[in-house]
């Protein structure tokens, strides 16, 4: 019972929120915000309490300390997103749908938890679908904006197609190995052509979720169309979860054909980093800009996965943690600005420092962390990723990755330039942000600054990741 505590707790609070939402009168819907955040905080804290781990449902569901850590990281991310979406939820259009937002978000989180701790492809598929389908509704959340509707359509259709291709791959796996349980599949797996086809189709399905290059085209439009908090959720939590399960499956199920998928990832990561950066250079809309930046970051994460070692796994988990804090920092600022002033273009950020300095400092720190500049955590994250890749002797790949960090530094500095250097006659006027946003941004800044220097964080992850490999 206790083994599945993360999912059960989430289900519990979802049900509680549903009940609360039913009994709230029409005009008091915003009352649900405080309990939702408190409950989420409670779940996050309880998640950290060490407890038993093991296998349930005859191998379909299995947890290990690392998987628990991954779930806790996702919980922290969702908590920050909740705090950041408050000012958006209080707007006029979302007044009566606040409860739905929380419930749907939590259900996708439950789906991700199941996906991460899945022991066989069926549970993995169910978790995946539970994580993606509700997201489409969230993407289309703002009913009065065409962009949001278009984003919803694009998301639901491409995700359906990708799950179709994924399933075709799974069926081939089942066909060739006769089983869907991970341990048995990995035992029976050889590099027969059909099995390679199956792996590639599985890879395509996952690549869609992590928005790796040939499968990333949906990301930019959906990120731009969806409401900003949903975009941050998509780019951080859904991508993080997908990365986690992708890595686990690669290391456990497909370890027999490790040499093969290492080359696949080598090619894809170069493509992703370069194309992500090339597109991000030209963006003027902050959401689309952060979309392409997160695509490029996905390319960097692949460097860790290519490490194929305990070091690789640790650096990926560590980088995702740092990535969550830095990305949510940037998205938090963009969210509060867009909800308060409706402005979403980088040119509107001109002269931001002179009007509200604290916001622009947070944005700068977040961007520097994304770019990998010391002393913030991003530098450590990126450096360790490169160490993992270099451990495999792939110095050329590291060099290409490092060149890409320079291009990424260029467009991150473009935003910093807008905020600090450019003068503007009508900058975004000063506004006070509410308590929740301040709390959310404070958590991000704390994360960015502390995780870098605090070596115990990295060491803790390393200790946990002995099991899997």
């Amino acid at each position: 019972m206790l083994i599945m505590r993360h999912e059960l707790l989430l289900v519990a609070i979802t049900v509680i929120l549903l009940l609360v939402e039913i009994f709230l009168p029409q005009d008091k819907k915003h009352k649900i915000i405080l309990p939702a955040i408190l409950l989420m905080a409670l779940v996050t804290i309880i998640g950290f309490i060490p407890g038993p781990t093991g296998v349930l449902f005859g191998g379909m569901y299995g947890t290990s300390p690392l998987i628990l850590l991954m779930k806790n990281i996702l919980n922290i991310g969702v908590l920050i997103i909740f705090t950041q979406s408050v000012s958006w939820l209080k707007l006029e259009e979302q007044k009566e749908k606040i409860g739905e937002y929380f419930v749907i978000l939590l259900s996708t989180l439950i789906g991700m938890d199941y996906m991460i701790s899945s022991g066989d492809f069926l549970m993995f598929y169910l978790g995946l679908e539970l994580a993606t389908i509700p997201l489409a509704t969230l993407a289309a959340f703002e009913r009065f904006k065409e962009k949001s509707a278009e984003a919803g359509v694009k998301l639901i259709f491409t995700s359906a197609l990708s799950s179709g291709i994924l399933l075709y791959g799974l069926s081939m796996i089942y066909g060739t190995t006769g089983t869907v349980y991970f341990p048995e599949v990995s035992a029976a797996y050889a590099s027969a052509p059909l099995q390679i086809l199956a792996f590639i189709f599985f890879f395509a399905g996952m690549a869609f979720k992590i928005s790796l290059v040939p499968f990333h085209l949906w990301a930019a439009d959906v990120y731009e169309g969806a409401p900003i908090n949903v975009t941050s959720y998509l780019s951080v939590i859904s991508k993080g979860a997908a990365v986690f399960i992708f890595m686990i499956i690669l290391y456990t199920v497909f370890n027999k054909i490790a040499l093969m998928w290492r080359d696949v990832i080598y090619v894809i990561s170069i493509l992703t980093m370069t194309l992500g950066n090339l597109f991000a250079m030209r963006q003027r809309n902050i959401k689309r800009f952060l979309a392409f930046s997160s695509i490029a970051q996905a390319g960097f994460i692949l460097l860790g996965i290519i490490g194929q070692s305990q070091l690789g796994m640790t650096t990926v988990v560590y980088f995702v943690l740092v990535y969550i804090f830095s990305n949510l920092g940037a998205f938090g600022v963009a969210a509060i600005i867009s909800s308060k002033t409706g402005k979403e273009s980088i040119d509107d950020y001109d002269g931001l420092y002179r009007t509200n300095p604290m916001l622009s400092l947070t944005m700068m720190l977040a961007l520097f962390s994304l770019a990998g500049i010391p002393p913030v955590a991003g530098f450590f994250g990126k450096f360790f990723l490169f160490t993992a890749a270099a451990k495999q002797g792939m110095y050329i790949l590291v060099f290409i990755a490092v060149l890409n960090t320079i291009i990424s530094l260029y467009y991150y500095l473009l935003v910093v330039k807008a905020m600090f250097l450019n003068q503007s006659d009508r900058p975004i006027t000063y506004f006070k942000s509410d308590v929740y946003t301040k709390l959310g941004l404070a958590m991000c800044i704390a994360g960015i600054i502390i995780i870098g220097f605090a070596s115990p964080v990295y060491e803790f992850i390393l200790k946990l990741s002995y099991g899997l490999y």
């Binding site: 598929y125 278009e150 639901i156 075709y168 439009d221 731009e224």
Partner: protein, 105 residues
């Protein structure tokens, strides 16, 4: 009556359905018909699963379970897709997939 039909025939039919579905997805203009081609893809995978389970590994029924769940999930997916299509229709008064390109480059 299945004893006579070998596994390969099933696979051929499934693959054909799969690629017809993809072709439909890429070519059709109306969102609903795209949704239909999606269902086609999912059902082709069901055939695959059932065929493999029945003919190759009859002793335990993972394939069947898989198919049941796929059908359930496909239903959920279809319902959400149609809801969004209705939402699009309310906003753009048409559901031509080429018109939906406000966000690009």
């Amino acid at each position: 009556m299945f004893e006579g039909v070998p596994l390969t025939w099933f696979l051929i039919v499934a693959t054909l359905m799969f690629f017809i579905g993809i072709y439909g997805f890429l070519v059709r203009k109306n969102l609903i018909t795209i949704l239909m081609s999606l269902e086609l893809i999912l059902n082709s995978v069901n055939i695959n699963f059932v065929a493999f389970n029945k003919l190759l590994y009859p002793q335990h029924l993972e394939g069947m379970f898989f198919t049941v769940f796929i059908i359930a999930v496909a239903a959920a997916e279809a319902s959400v897709a149609i809801a969004i299509i209705i939402n699009i229709y309310r906003r753009l008064v048409n559901i031509d997939v080429e018109k939906m390109e406000e966000m690009k480059y």
